[in-house]
Amino acid sequence: MTALDLSTLDLDAVVRKEQKAARPKVLTLGVAVVLAIAWMTPFYYLVVSVFKSNTEYGQGHPLALPQSLEPILVNVYEAWTKTRMADGMFNSALYGLFGAGIAMFIAALAAYGLTRIDFRGKTFWFMLIFAGTIFPLQMYLIPLFLGYTRLGLMNTRIGMILFYIAICIPFPVLVLRNYMAGIPREMDEAARIDGSSEFRIFRSIVLPNCWGPMTALFLIQFTWVWNDLLFSMVLTSKEDVRSLMNGLMVLQGSYAASTPNVVMTATLLASLPTVVLFFVLRKHFMNGLRLQGM
């Protein structure tokens, strides 16, 4: 080994280069901070408006801090009762939990059939399920409306859940198919030789290995259902069964009945659950996004 010859090293040049490299870092950090502040301004505006009375909202600077915190009580009361938010929260949670939850289980079953059992024509059957994601949502609306009316599923919670199950299936099937294909099959074969049924292999060998991606996928689909407006507008018209976002849309649409600060309070309240969920389970959400990019 030759010793490092330090005499040829221009230390000043190295230091200069390092400094030059460090300067843009400060600049980028500055840009990122300014941009982040601008990015958050609408949310800041949302939060301060929630604490303002109607007159205060109308007169002061829109970004001014509220004079007192008291008006929020009136705003929350108004927003809560006018949108029947308790019902909305319950319905949206129900649709999200059951729709996305049952869909996850069904998707895992399908992915098991597509990856762990050998049969001919797998691609065809996979494409048949995956075809559920290639059409724009608008192509489902009219037929669903007619079918639901004929079958008496219109304005029912079960009808909403059934549809949300269906729409939440295809994408997780794609992801779980890729994921399950990567789990070694030795254990399956051993269990099969021992006489285990396929369902038992699914339940006790494959499923426990899939909780990670399934949690991430569930969060993505739950958020989608919670945030959906279109299908709630088409398949429900009664306040008892409509989702939270539908209630918010109706509140905003009725000009006279509500003031901006009340509408914004309703907006914040309706969004809090998924936002809190995001901050608490950030890692899982980011995991889900990684699956989406695949």
């Binding site: 059992i117 059957w125 075809a131 037929p143 079918g147 269906a166 919670w226 918010l248």
Partner: protein, 315 residues
């Protein structure tokens, strides 16, 4: 037992070829039915609630169905012909084209910009969360919020005035030539966080060797980006573009909430027009035809982008 020449040579106890083939066929059939049983719930839900409706929607678009009758009367292409003589359809189409073009280029470009900005920065995770946060809100909530942001005395105009651009302050959602761009701007604010995260994942998965090699060879940062990062990132960019375009031009919630009094609004899109014609006006067959048009656009976009992706993969 078998009496064929070949099989007579098999020692006793080994089944004949025929029985083995038959058994394998029986097993294969059994495996197929087992797999089908596992797939059946998914096939049921997707078939009944998604694929059947698509087929029915296509059928309905060729009928004279409106209000409560006409579903059994075939009218051929009449609904499609009517589209092209309808002024609302014209507005909706030109706006939809604007949405397609904007969501083709902008979310991926801006997302890439943000990704490069925050990558390796101090507090990268915090910045990521900040830019991603709008994505956790529903399009409905974002639409309601920005309806007030864009109002005459809203914070958008306030911001313009405070930086001396007060002359440009206007009632954004109520001026025909600005309303759709304003909605697209809001849509971008919501979506770019997602494209940024997806592109960051792509950037972090890039092989480091070619980057190091280029730096050693004295390539400038721009050269490294243009000739190494961009080509390697191309597959991720394609995914992001596809997701963005398909989400962009069929977006309904935001446009519906921010626009209110449809259909006579400059911001009408095909998705909103489809809803309005069917569920408000009762022209079901006509609405079904618009849905088919949207389907054709979506399938062509996925097909073209899929084809491009394949060419990239081969390169």
């Amino acid at each position: 037992m078998a009496t064929d020449t070949a099989e007579t040579m098999l020692p006793a106890g080994i089944p004949s070829i025929d029985t083995m083939v038959a058994r394998e066929k029986r097993h294969a059939r059994k495996r197929f039915w087992t797999a089908l049983a596992f797939m059946s719930p998914a096939l049921f839900f997707v078939g009944v609630f998604l694929l059947l409706p698509v087929a029915f929607n296509i059928y309905a678009s060729f009928t004279g169905w409106q209000k409560f009758s006409g579903l059994d009367r075939m009218v051929g292409l009449a609904n499609y012909q009517r589209l092209f003589s309808n002024p609302n359809f014209e507005t909706a189409t030109s706006n939809t084209i604007l949405w397609v073009v904007a969501s083709f280029f902008l979310p991926a470009m801006l997302g890439l910009g943000l990704a490069l900005l925050v990558k390796g920065l101090k507090g990268e995770e915090t910045f990521k969360s900040v830019y991603f946060l709008p994505r956790m809100f529903s399009a409905t909530a974002i639409g309601v919020l920005w309806y007030y942001v864009y109002a005459g005395e809203g914070i958008f105009n306030t911001a313009l005035r405070s930086v001396g651009l007060g002359d440009y302050a206007r009632n954004w959602l109520y001026e025909a030539s600005y309303a759709t761009p304003a909605m697209i701007f809001t849509h971008l604010w919501q979506q770019v966080g997602l494209t940024m995260v997806l592109l960051l994942l792509g950037l972090n998965a890039l092989p480091t060797d070619p980057l190091e090699a280029a730096k050693v060879d004295g390539a400038s940062r721009w050269q490294v980006f243009r000739h190494i990062v961009l080509p390697l990132l191309a597959p991720t960019i394609m995914v992001v573009v596809t997701v963005s375009v398909l989400a962009g031009f069929t977006s309904f919630d935001l446009v519906w909430v921010m626009g209110r009094d449809y259909p006579n609004r400059s911001t009408l899109t095909l998705a909103v027009n489809q809803y309005w014609e069917s569920f408000r006006a009762g022209y079901w067959a006509y609405g079904a035809a618009i849905a088919v048009i949207l389907g054709i656009i979506a399938l062509s976009i996925s097909w073209v982008l899929g084809w491009l992706q394949q060419r990239l993969d081969r390169r």
